[in-house]
Amino acid sequence: MKLPVYMDYSATTPVDPRVAEKMMQCLTMDGNFGNPASRSHEFGWNAEKMVDEARQQVADLICCDPREIVWTSGATESNNLAIKGAAHFYRKKGKHVITAKTEHKAVLDTCRQLEVEGFEVTYLEPETNGLIDLKKLESAIRDDTILISLMHVNNEIGVVTDIAAIGEMTRSHKILFHVDAAQSAGKVPIDLQNTKVDLMSFSAHKIYGPKGSGALFVRRKPRVRLEAQMHGGGHERGMRSGTLATHQIVGMGEAFRIAKLEMDVENQRVFTLRQRLWDGLQNIEEIYINGDFEHRVAGNLNVSFNFVEGESLIMALRDLAVSSGSACTSASLEPSYVLRALGRNDELAHSSIRFTIGRFTTEQDVDYAISLIHDSVNKLRALSPLWDMHKDGIDLSTIEWAAH
C-alpha cells in the first residue's frame, strides 16, 4: 500500500491512465497539437475534430446537445460565466439572485461581486442536514428574481440537491436555474433533456480528467443568453474566447466517456467502501455525521470527532490524505463555513474530517484508515482536557471560557 493513502477525491482526482494516454496524443509534433481555430490546415482540422468528439462525449454523459457545451478553464470559470453572464444579460429584467450559504466559494464570491455591482442576493440557510427546504426556496422568490444558483452535490458534505423539483419551480416562475455540478457529474445521473436546468457547470479534474478544464452547459431551448466574460476571437459561439486547449478538452471528453460507461458499477463499489469505512468508525464515541446520510453521494463521508481539535487530527492522520472542510479554504484556519451553516458549533466544525473515496481506493486503504483514525482519536483524547471533563460528566456548554 502506498502512503499516504489518498481519500480526498472531492478535492481532486488523479487523471485516469486512459485519459492521460489520450491527452498525450494531442501535445507533441507527432500528435494532434494544432490550434482548433486554425482553418487552413490538417493540424487545425484534426484538433477541431478531436474537440468536437470530446464535446459529444461530455454531452452524452449529461444527455444534452453538444452545441449546448461551452468549454472553460474549469468549474470556477463556468460558475463565474453562468452567474455573472446571466445576471449581466438579464439585469433589465431584475436584479435579484438566490443562492445558498453552503455553495462553493466560486459561486458565493461571484455573488458577492454581483452585490458590489448593485444586485441583491439572498443566501438561503440550509436545514441541519445540509439540504435546502424547497418551500423556503420558493418563498424567497421575488418578482425581480432572475437567477437561482444551487449546487447539485455539496463538495464538503456530499448531500444531493433535488434539482429536478427545483427546475420545475424555476421554470414555472420563469427564473433561470444554474447548477454547479462539479461534484456530481459521473457520480449522480444527470439527464438535462428531462431536467429543467438552464445552466450547469462541470469540472474535469473531479472525475479523473485534467485540471484546468471545465464546461458550462447553456440551454438552447428555451434559449439562455449570456454576456461573455472573456472577450476575444469569438470562440465557443462568442460566449468564451480563448484558444481551446485541445489536450485538456480531449482529456475531459475521455473522462466523461469513461464515467458514462462505468458509473453504475463504480458507484456501487465506492458506496460499499464508504459503508465499510463508516462501519469501522461508528463505534467511536462522540462521532457525528455531517449532512444527510441518505441523500448523499456514494463516496463522501464527513464526520466530526467531539473533543478533538481538527488541525491536530489532520496532523495525526498525516498518512491519510483527507481534508478538513473544503480544500479551497483549508489554507486558512477558519472552521468550515458549510458546517457552520448547518448549525454545527465551532468545535465540531473544527474537528470535521471529510473522507472522499474514489476510483482507486481499495478495501485495504479503508481498513488502514479505520485503524489509524481509532489510534489518533484515542491519542488526542488522552491529551484533551475537554475529553476528561466530558468523562467527568461536565457539560462544557455551562463553562464560561476566558476567550483570548
Binding site: 490550434n35 470556477t76 462553493h104 472573456m230 476575444g232 476571437g233 470562440h235 485541445t246 490524505a321
Partner: protein
C-alpha cells in the same frame, strides 16, 4: 505535413511533456490541500512561477497564472473596471485585447486606437492622451506581421501620467528577449503554447503598483486574484517551456533569423508579391506576404496539397473569413488583405524545410497563374 504556423500554436517540446507527465498521473494533489499531495503540487507551482518570472526578468511574486493569453489580456484590460475613463489600444491588437476593450464601452469607457503606419509601426503621440486616460494596451509583437512595437515612448508617457500600461507579449515571448522592468510596463501577458508549452495556460505579470480587480471569483487562489483550482500539469509545463526558452533564447533568435533571411531572400526572387513590413524590425520567425493576384485562401489550399501548413493570419478569429484588421490598419485594401499569407517558423525547422516551403510556394503560384491565364484566354 510541414508546419509553418507556429504563431497559431506550437507543438509541445518533448522535454516539457516529460516534466508534465508526473503531474498528470502520479502527483495529483490539489494545490490548496494541506496534505502531502497538496504540498507537492504547491511546490511544483512555486518552481514554475520562478521559471516563468525568469523568462521576463520579473520576480516570482509578480506572476499570476491564467488559463491563457486571452484570459490574461481580459484580466489586464478589465482590471480597472470599477473606474471609467479613456482607454488607448494599438490599432493592430489581438482580438482578445480589441474585444475586451470594446466590452468596456458598455461600462462607460471611451476607447481609442493608436494608429500604425504602412509598416505596422505604432504612431504614438502625446496628443492621443486625454485628461482621463487611465489605461494603455499595446502588443509587444504582432501575431500576423511580426512587427515589434517601439513602446519606450508609450511606457514613458504612461509613467509620467500615472497611466496603467499593459503589453501583450504572447507572440514575443520565446522569440526575442523580454525584460519586464526595462519595458516599463505595469502588466504583461504571456501564453505558454506560443513557445512550446501547453495550450490553456498563460500568465499576467504585474508590477503590483495597482490593486487589480479579479476576472474570476472563487476560492481565492493566486492571492485572490485568479480563483480556480490550479492547473498544475500545465503550470509545470509552462514553467519548463519558459526555462528552456530562457536558456535557448539567443540560439533560437539567431536560428530563426537565419531561416527567415533565407526565406525572404527566396521570396524576393518571386514576382507579384510583397513582404509585409519588410523594412522594419519584426519577430525573427514571422514573414507575411501579400500576393498581387491570388487569394490567400487559394494559396493555402494549394500549399495544403504540398503538405505544407500555413495560415492567412490570425487563427483566433474562429471561423471568420473577414480580411485581416491588422493589414487594413496598415493601409492595405480589403482585397489586398484577403491576399495575405503568414509563414511562422518553428525552432526545429532547418534550411531544407525552408527550401521546401519556398519551392512549394513557387510551384503553386506558377500553377495558379498559368491556370488563371488559361482561363483568361
Amino acid at each position: 505535413m510541414y508546419y509553418f504556423d507556429n504563431n497559431a500554436t506550437t507543438p509541445l517540446d518533448e522535454r516539457v511533456l516529460e516534466a508534465m507527465l508526473p503531474y498528470l498521473t502520479v502527483a495529483h494533489g490539489n494545490a490548496s490541500s494541506a496534505h502531502h499531495y497538496g504540498r507537492k503540487a504547491r511546490a511544483a507551482i512555486d518552481t514554475a512561477r520562478e521559471q516563468v518570472a525568469m523568462l521576463v526578468n520579473a520576480y516570482p511574486a509578480q506572476v499570476i497564472f491564467t488559463s491563457g493569453g486571452t484570459e490574461a489580456n481580459n484580466f489586464a484590460i478589465k482590471s480597472d473596471v470599477t473606474q471609467t475613463g479613456h482607454l488607448l489600444i494599438g490599432a493592430t491588437e489581438h482580438a482578445s485585447v480589441l474585444n475586451a476593450a470594446k466590452s468596456l464601452q458598455t461600462r462607460g469607457w471611451r476607447v481609442d486606437t493608436i494608429p500604425v503606419n504602412h509598416n505596422g509601426v505604432l504612431q504614438f503621440q502625446d496628443n492621443l492622451l486625454q485628461n482621463d486616460t487611465r489605461f494603455i494596451s499595446v502588443m509587444l509583437a504582432n501575431n500576423e506581421t511580426g512587427v515589434i512595437s517601439p513602446i519606450q515612448d508609450i511606457a514613458q508617457a504612461s509613467q509620467q501620467r500615472d497611466i496603467i500600461f499593459h503589453t501583450d507579449a504572447s507572440q514575443a515571448a520565446g522569440k526575442i528577449p523580454i525584460d519586464f522592468n526595462l519595458i516599463g510596463a505595469n502588466l504583461l501577458t504571456l501564453s505558454a503554447h506560443k513557445f512550446y508549452g501547453p495550450q490553456g495556460i498563460g500568465a499576467l505579470i504585474t508590477d503590483k503598483r495597482k490593486v487589480l480587480e479579479p476576472l474570476l471569483h472563487g476560492g481565492g487562489q493566486e492571492k485572490g486574484l485568479r480563483s480556480g483550482t490550479e492547473n498544475i500539469a500545465s503550470i509545470v509545463g509552462f514553467g519548463k517551456a519558459a526555462e528552456i526558452a530562457s536558456n535557448e533564447i539567443n540560439t533560437r533568435f539567431m536560428h530563426y533569423k537565419d531561416l527567415k533571411q533565407q526565406l525572404e531572400t527566396y521570396l524576393s526572387s518571386l514576382d507579384g508579391l510583397e513582404i509585409v513590413a519588410e523594412s522594419v524590425e519584426r519577430l525573427p520567425n514571422t514573414t507575411m506576404i501579400v500576393v498581387d493576384d491570388i487569394k490567400g485562401e487559394t494559396l493555402l489550399l494549394g500549399l495544403d496539397h504540398e503538405d505544407i501548413a500555413v495560415s492567412s493570419g490570425s487563427a483566433c478569429y474562429a471561423g471568420k473569413t473577414e480580411p485581416s484588421h491588422v493589414l487594413q490598419a496598415m493601409g492595405y485594401s480589403a482585397e489586398q488583405a484577403h491576399n495575405a499569407v503568414r509563414f511562422s517558423l518553428g525552432k526545429e525547422q532547418n534550411a531544407a524545410d525552408v527550401h521546401r516551403l519556398f519551392a512549394a510556394i513557387k510551384k503553386q503560384l506558377h500553377e495558379m497563374r498559368s491556370l488563371a491565364l488559361a482561363v483568361a484566354i
